[in-house]
Symmetry: C2
Subunit: 296 residues, 2 copies
Protein backbone atom coordinates (compact mmCIF):
# COMPACT_ATOMS: atom_id res chain seq x y z
CA UNK A 1 0.00 0.00 0.00
CA UNK A 2 1.39 3.39 -0.98
CA UNK A 3 -1.33 5.59 0.57
CA UNK A 4 -0.98 7.69 3.67
CA UNK A 5 -2.60 6.26 6.80
CA UNK A 6 -4.63 8.23 9.31
CA UNK A 7 -4.40 6.12 12.44
CA UNK A 8 -6.99 6.81 15.15
CA UNK A 9 -7.00 5.40 18.67
CA UNK A 10 -10.48 6.30 19.91
CA UNK A 11 -10.93 5.31 23.53
CA UNK A 12 -13.43 5.90 26.30
CA UNK A 13 -12.04 9.20 27.50
CA UNK A 14 -9.76 10.46 24.72
CA UNK A 15 -9.05 10.40 21.01
CA UNK A 16 -5.55 10.29 19.54
CA UNK A 17 -4.70 10.44 15.86
CA UNK A 18 -1.57 10.25 13.73
CA UNK A 19 -0.78 10.82 10.06
CA UNK A 20 1.60 8.10 8.94
CA UNK A 21 3.57 7.93 5.70
CA UNK A 22 3.51 4.81 3.52
CA UNK A 23 6.94 3.83 4.89
CA UNK A 24 5.66 3.95 8.50
CA UNK A 25 7.08 7.33 9.48
CA UNK A 26 4.77 9.16 11.89
CA UNK A 27 4.43 12.60 10.27
CA UNK A 28 2.06 14.34 12.70
CA UNK A 29 0.12 13.57 15.89
CA UNK A 30 -2.99 15.10 17.49
CA UNK A 31 -5.17 14.34 20.48
CA UNK A 32 -8.40 15.56 22.05
CA UNK A 33 -10.63 14.85 25.03
CA UNK A 34 -13.48 13.70 22.77
CA UNK A 35 -13.50 10.09 24.03
CA UNK A 36 -16.55 8.05 23.05
CA UNK A 37 -18.33 8.77 26.34
CA UNK A 38 -18.45 12.46 25.35
CA UNK A 39 -19.72 11.86 21.81
CA UNK A 40 -23.49 11.44 21.20
CA UNK A 41 -24.65 8.87 18.63
CA UNK A 42 -24.47 10.31 15.12
CA UNK A 43 -21.81 12.87 15.99
CA UNK A 44 -18.78 10.60 15.49
CA UNK A 45 -18.17 11.58 11.84
CA UNK A 46 -18.25 15.28 12.79
CA UNK A 47 -15.76 14.78 15.65
CA UNK A 48 -13.38 12.89 13.37
CA UNK A 49 -13.74 15.65 10.75
CA UNK A 50 -13.06 18.29 13.41
CA UNK A 51 -9.96 16.46 14.64
CA UNK A 52 -8.35 15.58 11.31
CA UNK A 53 -10.56 16.73 8.45
CA UNK A 54 -7.54 18.24 6.70
CA UNK A 55 -5.79 14.87 6.77
CA UNK A 56 -8.90 13.04 5.55
CA UNK A 57 -9.21 15.33 2.55
CA UNK A 58 -5.72 14.41 1.33
CA UNK A 59 -5.65 12.35 -1.80
CA UNK A 60 -6.19 8.65 -1.15
CA UNK A 61 -5.80 8.74 2.61
CA UNK A 62 -6.92 5.60 4.43
CA UNK A 63 -8.29 5.92 7.98
CA UNK A 64 -8.25 3.04 10.49
CA UNK A 65 -9.92 3.52 13.89
CA UNK A 66 -9.18 1.23 16.84
CA UNK A 67 -10.47 1.16 20.43
CA UNK A 68 -13.87 1.64 22.03
CA UNK A 69 -15.20 3.50 18.95
CA UNK A 70 -16.06 -0.02 17.76
CA UNK A 71 -18.14 -0.86 20.84
CA UNK A 72 -21.92 -0.77 21.26
CA UNK A 73 -21.59 2.71 22.78
CA UNK A 74 -19.23 3.89 20.01
CA UNK A 75 -19.42 4.96 16.40
CA UNK A 76 -20.44 1.60 14.97
CA UNK A 77 -20.31 -1.79 16.64
CA UNK A 78 -17.57 -3.93 15.10
CA UNK A 79 -18.24 -7.47 16.40
CA UNK A 80 -15.31 -9.06 18.25
CA UNK A 81 -13.01 -11.21 16.17
CA UNK A 82 -12.62 -14.62 17.87
CA UNK A 83 -9.14 -15.86 18.85
CA UNK A 84 -6.86 -17.21 17.53
CA UNK A 85 -6.58 -14.08 15.40
CA UNK A 86 -3.76 -12.36 13.54
CA UNK A 87 -3.52 -9.59 10.95
CA UNK A 88 -5.47 -11.65 8.41
CA UNK A 89 -8.49 -12.36 10.63
CA UNK A 90 -8.67 -8.77 11.87
CA UNK A 91 -8.29 -7.32 8.37
CA UNK A 92 -11.16 -9.47 7.12
CA UNK A 93 -13.35 -8.33 10.04
CA UNK A 94 -12.89 -4.56 9.61
CA UNK A 95 -16.16 -2.63 9.84
CA UNK A 96 -16.05 -0.28 6.85
CA UNK A 97 -17.70 3.09 7.36
CA UNK A 98 -16.73 4.24 3.86
CA UNK A 99 -15.51 1.51 1.49
CA UNK A 100 -11.74 1.52 1.08
CA UNK A 101 -11.46 4.80 3.04
CA UNK A 102 -12.55 4.62 6.70
CA UNK A 103 -12.79 1.43 8.76
CA UNK A 104 -13.14 0.44 12.40
CA UNK A 105 -10.83 -2.28 13.70
CA UNK A 106 -12.74 -4.93 15.69
CA UNK A 107 -11.61 -6.04 19.13
CA UNK A 108 -10.78 -9.64 20.00
CA UNK A 109 -12.65 -12.19 22.12
CA UNK A 110 -11.64 -15.51 23.59
CA UNK A 111 -13.13 -18.09 25.98
CA UNK A 112 -11.85 -19.79 29.12
CA UNK A 113 -14.08 -22.47 30.63
CA UNK A 114 -17.28 -20.95 29.32
CA UNK A 115 -16.38 -17.40 30.33
CA UNK A 116 -15.65 -14.89 27.56
CA UNK A 117 -12.92 -12.27 27.66
CA UNK A 118 -12.65 -9.23 25.42
CA UNK A 119 -10.34 -6.41 24.38
CA UNK A 120 -10.68 -3.39 22.10
CA UNK A 121 -7.60 -1.48 21.04
CA UNK A 122 -4.98 -3.54 22.85
CA UNK A 123 -4.85 -6.02 19.94
CA UNK A 124 -3.50 -3.24 17.73
CA UNK A 125 -0.75 -2.51 20.25
CA UNK A 126 0.20 -6.19 20.32
CA UNK A 127 0.33 -6.30 16.52
CA UNK A 128 2.51 -3.18 16.58
CA UNK A 129 4.85 -4.67 19.18
CA UNK A 130 5.17 -7.87 17.14
CA UNK A 131 6.06 -5.82 14.07
CA UNK A 132 8.49 -3.52 15.90
CA UNK A 133 10.29 -6.39 17.62
CA UNK A 134 10.02 -8.90 14.78
CA UNK A 135 8.55 -11.23 17.40
CA UNK A 136 5.62 -13.49 16.56
CA UNK A 137 5.65 -15.62 19.70
CA UNK A 138 5.57 -14.81 23.40
CA UNK A 139 3.75 -13.12 26.23
CA UNK A 140 2.68 -9.48 25.87
CA UNK A 141 1.49 -7.64 29.01
CA UNK A 142 -0.48 -4.39 28.68
CA UNK A 143 -0.84 -2.82 32.15
CA UNK A 144 -3.70 -0.42 32.74
CA UNK A 145 -7.16 0.08 34.18
CA UNK A 146 -7.90 -3.38 32.82
CA UNK A 147 -4.55 -5.11 32.25
CA UNK A 148 -4.29 -7.65 29.46
CA UNK A 149 -1.98 -10.69 29.33
CA UNK A 150 -1.79 -11.78 25.72
CA UNK A 151 -0.37 -15.08 24.49
CA UNK A 152 0.92 -14.87 20.94
CA UNK A 153 1.89 -17.85 18.79
CA UNK A 154 2.95 -17.75 15.15
CA UNK A 155 1.97 -14.10 14.81
CA UNK A 156 -1.58 -14.64 16.05
CA UNK A 157 -3.19 -13.90 19.41
CA UNK A 158 -4.00 -17.34 20.75
CA UNK A 159 -5.74 -16.21 23.97
CA UNK A 160 -5.63 -13.51 26.60
CA UNK A 161 -6.77 -12.64 30.12
CA UNK A 162 -8.01 -9.40 31.68
CA UNK A 163 -7.18 -8.21 35.21
CA UNK A 164 -9.01 -5.22 36.72
CA UNK A 165 -5.77 -4.12 38.36
CA UNK A 166 -5.70 -0.39 37.70
CA UNK A 167 -9.37 0.01 38.50
CA UNK A 168 -9.19 -1.88 41.80
CA UNK A 169 -6.05 0.07 42.77
CA UNK A 170 -7.95 3.32 42.17
CA UNK A 171 -10.94 2.08 44.20
CA UNK A 172 -8.70 1.15 47.14
CA UNK A 173 -6.66 4.34 46.79
CA UNK A 174 -9.67 6.68 46.65
CA UNK A 175 -12.67 5.06 48.27
CA UNK A 176 -11.59 2.36 50.77
CA UNK A 177 -10.75 2.58 54.45
CA UNK A 178 -7.07 2.56 53.35
CA UNK A 179 -7.55 5.93 51.65
CA UNK A 180 -8.13 7.55 55.06
CA UNK A 181 -4.48 7.26 56.05
CA UNK A 182 -2.96 7.67 52.58
CA UNK A 183 -1.47 11.02 51.57
CA UNK A 184 -3.58 12.81 48.95
CA UNK A 185 -0.65 13.16 46.56
CA UNK A 186 1.53 10.30 45.35
CA UNK A 187 5.21 10.92 46.00
CA UNK A 188 7.67 9.49 43.47
CA UNK A 189 7.66 5.70 43.63
CA UNK A 190 9.28 4.28 46.79
CA UNK A 191 10.84 1.19 45.19
CA UNK A 192 11.52 -0.66 48.44
CA UNK A 193 7.92 -0.21 49.66
CA UNK A 194 6.61 -1.18 46.22
CA UNK A 195 8.63 -4.41 46.14
CA UNK A 196 7.62 -5.17 49.73
CA UNK A 197 4.02 -5.00 48.50
CA UNK A 198 4.79 -7.29 45.54
CA UNK A 199 6.43 -9.78 47.90
CA UNK A 200 3.54 -9.77 50.37
CA UNK A 201 0.96 -10.21 47.59
CA UNK A 202 2.86 -13.26 46.36
CA UNK A 203 2.50 -14.86 49.81
CA UNK A 204 -0.93 -13.66 51.04
CA UNK A 205 -2.87 -15.74 48.51
CA UNK A 206 -5.49 -13.09 47.76
CA UNK A 207 -5.71 -9.32 47.52
CA UNK A 208 -8.73 -9.45 49.87
CA UNK A 209 -6.26 -10.53 52.52
CA UNK A 210 -3.11 -8.69 51.42
CA UNK A 211 -4.83 -5.29 51.18
CA UNK A 212 -5.51 -5.22 54.93
CA UNK A 213 -1.76 -5.29 55.59
CA UNK A 214 -1.54 -1.71 54.27
CA UNK A 215 -3.70 -0.76 57.25
CA UNK A 216 -2.08 -2.89 59.94
CA UNK A 217 1.52 -2.07 58.98
CA UNK A 218 0.61 1.63 59.25
CA UNK A 219 -1.22 1.01 62.55
CA UNK A 220 1.94 -0.54 64.02
CA UNK A 221 4.19 2.19 62.53
CA UNK A 222 5.98 -0.27 60.27
CA UNK A 223 5.08 1.64 57.10
CA UNK A 224 5.29 5.43 56.83
CA UNK A 225 2.32 7.31 55.38
CA UNK A 226 4.52 8.51 52.49
CA UNK A 227 5.37 4.89 51.54
CA UNK A 228 1.80 3.61 51.68
CA UNK A 229 0.74 4.41 48.08
CA UNK A 230 3.84 2.64 46.70
CA UNK A 231 3.22 -0.34 49.00
CA UNK A 232 -0.44 -0.53 47.91
CA UNK A 233 0.58 -0.30 44.26
CA UNK A 234 2.98 -3.21 44.86
CA UNK A 235 0.21 -5.23 46.52
CA UNK A 236 -2.18 -4.82 43.59
CA UNK A 237 0.36 -5.32 40.78
CA UNK A 238 1.87 -8.17 42.81
CA UNK A 239 -1.58 -9.79 42.98
CA UNK A 240 -1.82 -9.73 39.19
CA UNK A 241 1.58 -11.45 38.94
CA UNK A 242 0.69 -13.97 41.67
CA UNK A 243 -2.40 -14.99 39.70
CA UNK A 244 -0.14 -15.87 36.76
CA UNK A 245 2.64 -17.48 38.78
CA UNK A 246 5.16 -18.90 38.22
CA UNK A 247 6.40 -15.68 36.66
CA UNK A 248 7.16 -15.86 32.93
CA UNK A 249 10.85 -15.87 32.04
CA UNK A 250 10.34 -13.31 29.27
CA UNK A 251 7.61 -10.83 28.47
CA UNK A 252 7.00 -7.67 26.47
CA UNK A 253 5.39 -4.79 28.39
CA UNK A 254 3.38 -2.27 26.38
CA UNK A 255 2.09 0.92 27.98
CA UNK A 256 2.94 4.25 29.56
CA UNK A 257 6.42 4.57 31.02
CA UNK A 258 5.01 5.13 34.53
CA UNK A 259 3.25 1.77 34.43
CA UNK A 260 5.77 -0.33 32.52
CA UNK A 261 8.47 0.85 34.94
CA UNK A 262 6.49 -0.55 37.89
CA UNK A 263 5.66 -3.82 36.15
CA UNK A 264 9.29 -4.23 35.05
CA UNK A 265 10.46 -3.75 38.65
CA UNK A 266 7.95 -6.29 39.92
CA UNK A 267 8.69 -8.82 37.17
CA UNK A 268 12.47 -8.52 37.67
CA UNK A 269 12.03 -9.23 41.39
CA UNK A 270 10.40 -12.51 40.31
CA UNK A 271 13.17 -13.47 37.88
CA UNK A 272 11.60 -12.24 34.63
CA UNK A 273 13.48 -9.96 32.24
CA UNK A 274 10.87 -7.92 30.36
CA UNK A 275 11.28 -5.54 27.43
CA UNK A 276 9.09 -2.42 27.33
CA UNK A 277 7.40 -0.47 24.54
CA UNK A 278 5.33 2.70 24.66
CA UNK A 279 2.66 4.48 22.60
CA UNK A 280 4.49 3.87 19.31
CA UNK A 281 3.03 0.34 19.34
CA UNK A 282 -0.45 1.65 18.49
CA UNK A 283 0.64 3.59 15.39
CA UNK A 284 2.86 0.74 14.26
CA UNK A 285 0.06 -1.76 14.74
CA UNK A 286 -2.43 0.20 12.64
CA UNK A 287 0.21 0.82 9.98
CA UNK A 288 1.18 -2.88 9.87
CA UNK A 289 -2.51 -3.79 9.61
CA UNK A 290 -2.99 -1.31 6.74
CA UNK A 291 -0.09 -2.90 4.86
CA UNK A 292 -1.83 -6.29 4.93
CA UNK A 293 -4.98 -4.89 3.28
CA UNK A 294 -5.48 -5.58 -0.39
CA UNK A 295 -6.06 -1.95 -1.32
CA UNK A 296 -4.89 0.14 -4.23
Amino acid sequence: MTRELIAVDWGTSSLRAARIAADGTVLEERSSQRGILSVPAGVFPAVLQETCGDWLSRDGALCLVSGMAGSKQGWREAPYCACPAGFGEVARSLAWIEPQRIAIVPGLSCEHGGVPDVMRGEEVQVFGAMDLLGEGDGLFILPGTHSKWVDVQGGRVRSFATFMTGEIFALLRQHSILSRTLPAEDDPLDEAAFLRGVWHAAHAGSLLRAAFSARTLALFDRLTPASQPSYLSGLVIGEELRARSPAPQRAVLIGSEALTTRYALALRSLGCEPRALGAQATWRGLWALARTLDLP
Copy 2:
Protein backbone atom coordinates in the same frame (compact mmCIF):
# COMPACT_ATOMS: atom_id res chain seq x y z
CA MET B 1 -20.24 -12.86 89.65
CA THR B 2 -23.77 -12.07 90.76
CA ARG B 3 -23.99 -8.52 89.39
CA GLU B 4 -25.98 -7.38 86.38
CA LEU B 5 -23.94 -6.77 83.24
CA ILE B 6 -24.36 -3.85 80.89
CA ALA B 7 -22.87 -5.14 77.66
CA VAL B 8 -21.96 -2.52 75.07
CA ASP B 9 -20.89 -3.19 71.48
CA TRP B 10 -19.56 0.20 70.36
CA GLY B 11 -18.57 0.15 66.72
CA THR B 12 -17.60 2.64 64.05
CA SER B 13 -21.12 3.55 62.96
CA SER B 14 -23.42 2.34 65.72
CA LEU B 15 -23.73 1.56 69.41
CA ARG B 16 -25.70 -1.40 70.78
CA ALA B 17 -26.25 -2.17 74.43
CA ALA B 18 -27.90 -4.92 76.49
CA ARG B 19 -28.76 -5.39 80.16
CA ILE B 20 -27.95 -8.97 81.09
CA ALA B 21 -28.91 -10.82 84.28
CA ALA B 22 -26.33 -12.71 86.32
CA ASP B 23 -27.61 -15.97 84.79
CA GLY B 24 -27.02 -14.72 81.25
CA THR B 25 -30.59 -13.79 80.37
CA VAL B 26 -30.75 -10.72 78.13
CA LEU B 27 -33.30 -8.47 79.89
CA GLU B 28 -33.32 -5.45 77.60
CA GLU B 29 -31.62 -4.18 74.43
CA ARG B 30 -31.03 -0.72 72.96
CA SER B 31 -29.19 0.73 70.00
CA SER B 32 -28.27 4.12 68.58
CA GLN B 33 -26.43 5.63 65.62
CA ARG B 34 -23.76 7.12 67.92
CA GLY B 35 -20.87 5.08 66.49
CA ILE B 36 -17.41 6.26 67.48
CA LEU B 37 -16.98 8.28 64.27
CA SER B 38 -19.85 10.53 65.43
CA VAL B 39 -18.54 11.02 68.98
CA PRO B 40 -15.94 13.76 69.65
CA ALA B 41 -13.14 13.03 72.13
CA GLY B 42 -14.32 13.57 75.68
CA VAL B 43 -17.99 13.03 74.88
CA PHE B 44 -17.96 9.21 75.18
CA PRO B 45 -19.05 9.14 78.86
CA ALA B 46 -21.99 11.44 78.07
CA VAL B 47 -23.13 9.28 75.13
CA LEU B 48 -22.97 6.14 77.26
CA GLN B 49 -24.92 7.94 80.00
CA GLU B 50 -27.51 9.08 77.45
CA THR B 51 -27.92 5.58 76.06
CA CYS B 52 -28.09 3.60 79.28
CA GLY B 53 -27.64 5.92 82.28
CA ASP B 54 -30.63 4.31 83.99
CA TRP B 55 -28.98 0.89 83.73
CA LEU B 56 -25.61 2.23 84.95
CA SER B 57 -27.21 3.71 88.07
CA ARG B 58 -28.53 0.30 89.13
CA ASP B 59 -26.82 -1.13 92.17
CA GLY B 60 -23.55 -2.87 91.38
CA ALA B 61 -23.94 -2.95 87.61
CA LEU B 62 -20.78 -3.83 85.70
CA CYS B 63 -20.31 -2.34 82.20
CA LEU B 64 -18.07 -3.97 79.57
CA VAL B 65 -17.55 -2.19 76.25
CA SER B 66 -16.20 -4.00 73.18
CA GLY B 67 -15.45 -2.84 69.64
CA MET B 68 -13.85 0.25 68.13
CA ALA B 69 -14.47 2.27 71.33
CA GLY B 70 -11.10 0.81 72.38
CA SER B 71 -9.25 2.15 69.33
CA LYS B 72 -7.09 5.25 69.02
CA GLN B 73 -10.11 7.13 67.63
CA GLY B 74 -12.39 5.80 70.40
CA TRP B 75 -13.07 6.43 74.07
CA ARG B 76 -9.76 5.19 75.34
CA GLU B 77 -7.14 3.12 73.53
CA ALA B 78 -7.01 -0.42 74.89
CA PRO B 79 -3.81 -1.93 73.45
CA TYR B 80 -4.32 -5.12 71.47
CA CYS B 81 -3.92 -8.37 73.39
CA ALA B 82 -1.47 -10.62 71.53
CA CYS B 83 -2.54 -14.12 70.41
CA PRO B 84 -2.80 -16.80 71.58
CA ALA B 85 -5.42 -15.27 73.86
CA GLY B 86 -8.44 -16.59 75.75
CA PHE B 87 -10.75 -15.24 78.42
CA GLY B 88 -7.87 -15.02 80.90
CA GLU B 89 -5.56 -12.91 78.75
CA VAL B 90 -8.36 -10.59 77.68
CA ALA B 91 -9.68 -10.20 81.24
CA ARG B 92 -6.21 -9.22 82.46
CA SER B 93 -5.89 -6.67 79.64
CA LEU B 94 -9.17 -4.81 80.23
CA ALA B 95 -8.77 -1.02 80.17
CA TRP B 96 -10.67 0.12 83.26
CA ILE B 97 -12.40 3.49 82.93
CA GLU B 98 -13.84 3.21 86.45
CA PRO B 99 -12.32 0.48 88.64
CA GLN B 100 -14.57 -2.56 88.95
CA ARG B 101 -17.40 -0.74 87.17
CA ILE B 102 -16.69 0.25 83.53
CA ALA B 103 -14.03 -1.36 81.34
CA ILE B 104 -13.10 -1.50 77.68
CA VAL B 105 -12.33 -4.91 76.21
CA PRO B 106 -9.10 -4.88 74.16
CA GLY B 107 -8.97 -6.29 70.66
CA LEU B 108 -6.57 -9.04 69.59
CA SER B 109 -3.47 -8.95 67.41
CA CYS B 110 -1.42 -11.67 65.75
CA GLU B 111 1.47 -11.89 63.27
CA HIS B 112 1.99 -13.77 60.04
CA GLY B 113 5.43 -13.51 58.46
CA GLY B 114 6.16 -10.09 59.92
CA VAL B 115 2.75 -8.64 59.06
CA PRO B 116 0.37 -7.88 61.93
CA ASP B 117 -3.36 -8.51 61.88
CA VAL B 118 -5.93 -7.04 64.24
CA MET B 119 -9.54 -7.28 65.36
CA ARG B 120 -11.71 -5.29 67.79
CA GLY B 121 -15.07 -6.68 68.83
CA GLU B 122 -15.02 -9.92 66.85
CA GLU B 123 -13.03 -11.64 69.64
CA VAL B 124 -16.03 -11.17 71.96
CA GLN B 125 -18.29 -12.83 69.41
CA VAL B 126 -15.90 -15.76 69.13
CA PHE B 127 -15.82 -16.12 72.93
CA GLY B 128 -19.62 -16.01 72.96
CA ALA B 129 -19.88 -18.65 70.25
CA MET B 130 -17.45 -20.91 72.13
CA ASP B 131 -19.55 -20.55 75.25
CA LEU B 132 -22.88 -21.04 73.48
CA LEU B 133 -21.70 -24.13 71.58
CA GLY B 134 -19.44 -25.54 74.30
CA GLU B 135 -16.77 -25.61 71.61
CA GLY B 136 -13.17 -24.65 72.42
CA ASP B 137 -11.56 -25.79 69.17
CA GLY B 138 -12.23 -25.05 65.54
CA LEU B 139 -12.59 -22.46 62.84
CA PHE B 140 -14.86 -19.46 63.39
CA ILE B 141 -15.72 -17.26 60.40
CA LEU B 142 -17.14 -13.76 60.93
CA PRO B 143 -18.28 -12.37 57.56
CA GLY B 144 -18.52 -8.62 57.16
CA THR B 145 -16.89 -5.47 55.83
CA HIS B 146 -13.63 -7.00 57.05
CA SER B 147 -14.23 -10.75 57.44
CA LYS B 148 -12.26 -12.60 60.10
CA TRP B 149 -11.21 -16.25 60.00
CA VAL B 150 -10.36 -17.23 63.55
CA ASP B 151 -8.51 -20.40 64.57
CA VAL B 152 -9.38 -21.49 68.10
CA GLN B 153 -7.50 -24.13 70.08
CA GLY B 154 -8.13 -25.09 73.68
CA GLY B 155 -10.48 -22.16 74.23
CA ARG B 156 -7.97 -19.58 73.05
CA VAL B 157 -7.67 -17.68 69.79
CA ARG B 158 -4.44 -18.99 68.31
CA SER B 159 -4.39 -16.79 65.18
CA PHE B 160 -6.70 -15.15 62.69
CA ALA B 161 -6.80 -13.54 59.24
CA THR B 162 -8.69 -10.56 57.88
CA PHE B 163 -10.25 -10.34 54.40
CA MET B 164 -11.59 -7.02 53.08
CA THR B 165 -14.45 -8.89 51.42
CA GLY B 166 -17.47 -6.74 52.28
CA GLU B 167 -15.62 -3.53 51.59
CA ILE B 168 -14.29 -4.63 48.19
CA PHE B 169 -17.74 -5.95 47.24
CA ALA B 170 -19.21 -2.53 48.05
CA LEU B 171 -16.48 -0.76 46.04
CA LEU B 172 -17.13 -2.96 42.99
CA ARG B 173 -20.91 -2.71 43.44
CA GLN B 174 -20.99 1.07 43.77
CA HIS B 175 -17.93 2.60 42.13
CA SER B 176 -16.48 0.25 39.50
CA ILE B 177 -17.23 -0.12 35.80
CA LEU B 178 -19.38 -3.13 36.81
CA SER B 179 -21.75 -0.83 38.67
CA ARG B 180 -22.79 0.77 35.37
CA THR B 181 -24.76 -2.28 34.27
CA LEU B 182 -25.91 -3.44 37.72
CA PRO B 183 -29.45 -2.68 38.87
CA ALA B 184 -29.56 -0.05 41.62
CA GLU B 185 -31.54 -2.32 43.95
CA ASP B 186 -30.54 -5.84 44.95
CA ASP B 187 -33.23 -8.38 44.25
CA PRO B 188 -33.49 -11.31 46.65
CA LEU B 189 -30.46 -13.56 46.30
CA ASP B 190 -30.36 -15.55 43.05
CA GLU B 191 -28.76 -18.72 44.44
CA ALA B 192 -27.77 -20.19 41.09
CA ALA B 193 -26.02 -16.98 39.99
CA PHE B 194 -24.36 -16.67 43.41
CA LEU B 195 -22.98 -20.22 43.27
CA ARG B 196 -21.85 -19.68 39.68
CA GLY B 197 -19.80 -16.77 41.01
CA VAL B 198 -18.36 -18.89 43.84
CA TRP B 199 -17.39 -21.57 41.32
CA HIS B 200 -15.76 -19.12 38.94
CA ALA B 201 -13.79 -17.45 41.75
CA ALA B 202 -12.43 -20.84 42.77
CA HIS B 203 -11.03 -21.34 39.27
CA ALA B 204 -10.00 -17.82 38.18
CA GLY B 205 -7.11 -17.63 40.64
CA SER B 206 -7.63 -13.98 41.60
CA LEU B 207 -10.53 -11.58 42.03
CA LEU B 208 -8.67 -9.13 39.74
CA ARG B 209 -9.35 -11.62 36.98
CA ALA B 210 -12.68 -13.10 38.11
CA ALA B 211 -14.37 -9.71 38.54
CA PHE B 212 -14.11 -8.94 34.82
CA SER B 213 -16.31 -11.96 34.07
CA ALA B 214 -19.28 -10.08 35.55
CA ARG B 215 -18.84 -7.63 32.68
CA THR B 216 -18.15 -10.05 29.85
CA LEU B 217 -20.94 -12.50 30.74
CA ALA B 218 -23.36 -9.56 30.69
CA LEU B 219 -21.88 -8.29 27.40
CA PHE B 220 -22.55 -11.69 25.79
CA ASP B 221 -26.05 -11.94 27.36
CA ARG B 222 -25.07 -14.96 29.46
CA LEU B 223 -25.99 -13.23 32.73
CA THR B 224 -29.15 -11.16 33.17
CA PRO B 225 -28.85 -7.73 34.77
CA ALA B 226 -31.05 -8.92 37.66
CA SER B 227 -28.63 -11.80 38.42
CA GLN B 228 -25.48 -9.70 38.32
CA PRO B 229 -25.42 -8.55 41.97
CA SER B 230 -25.79 -12.16 43.18
CA TYR B 231 -23.08 -13.32 40.77
CA LEU B 232 -20.73 -10.55 41.92
CA SER B 233 -21.44 -11.42 45.57
CA GLY B 234 -20.55 -15.04 44.77
CA LEU B 235 -17.31 -13.94 43.08
CA VAL B 236 -16.16 -11.92 46.09
CA ILE B 237 -17.19 -14.39 48.80
CA GLY B 238 -15.85 -17.20 46.60
CA GLU B 239 -12.51 -15.38 46.42
CA GLU B 240 -12.32 -15.35 50.24
CA LEU B 241 -12.96 -19.11 50.30
CA ARG B 242 -10.48 -19.74 47.46
CA ALA B 243 -7.77 -17.97 49.45
CA ARG B 244 -8.33 -20.47 52.28
CA SER B 245 -8.75 -23.56 50.12
CA PRO B 246 -9.09 -26.45 50.56
CA ALA B 247 -12.37 -25.59 52.26
CA PRO B 248 -12.58 -26.49 55.95
CA GLN B 249 -14.74 -29.50 56.75
CA ARG B 250 -16.43 -27.71 59.64
CA ALA B 251 -16.78 -24.08 60.63
CA VAL B 252 -18.91 -21.81 62.79
CA LEU B 253 -20.31 -18.73 61.05
CA ILE B 254 -21.08 -15.70 63.22
CA GLY B 255 -22.93 -12.69 61.83
CA SER B 256 -26.14 -11.31 60.38
CA GLU B 257 -28.50 -13.84 58.86
CA ALA B 258 -28.21 -12.21 55.42
CA LEU B 259 -24.46 -12.80 55.40
CA THR B 260 -24.23 -16.17 57.15
CA THR B 261 -26.83 -17.52 54.70
CA ARG B 262 -24.61 -16.62 51.76
CA TYR B 263 -21.46 -17.98 53.36
CA ALA B 264 -23.24 -21.19 54.34
CA LEU B 265 -24.42 -21.67 50.75
CA ALA B 266 -20.90 -21.10 49.42
CA LEU B 267 -19.27 -23.33 52.03
CA ARG B 268 -21.76 -26.15 51.45
CA SER B 269 -21.03 -26.05 47.71
CA LEU B 270 -17.40 -26.74 48.67
CA GLY B 271 -18.21 -29.65 50.99
CA CYS B 272 -18.17 -27.81 54.33
CA GLU B 273 -21.06 -28.10 56.78
CA PRO B 274 -21.10 -24.87 58.81
CA ARG B 275 -23.18 -23.93 61.83
CA ALA B 276 -24.40 -20.33 62.13
CA LEU B 277 -24.88 -17.95 65.05
CA GLY B 278 -26.21 -14.40 65.12
CA ALA B 279 -25.97 -11.31 67.30
CA GLN B 280 -26.50 -13.28 70.51
CA ALA B 281 -22.81 -14.22 70.35
CA THR B 282 -21.77 -10.69 71.34
CA TRP B 283 -23.91 -10.56 74.49
CA ARG B 284 -22.93 -14.08 75.43
CA GLY B 285 -19.24 -13.28 74.93
CA LEU B 286 -19.30 -10.21 77.16
CA TRP B 287 -21.31 -12.12 79.77
CA ALA B 288 -18.92 -15.08 79.70
CA LEU B 289 -16.00 -12.68 80.00
CA ALA B 290 -17.63 -10.94 82.99
CA ARG B 291 -18.03 -14.32 84.73
CA THR B 292 -14.28 -14.93 84.55
CA LEU B 293 -13.50 -11.63 86.32
CA ASP B 294 -12.53 -11.81 89.94
CA LEU B 295 -15.11 -9.24 91.05
CA PRO B 296 -17.39 -9.08 94.04
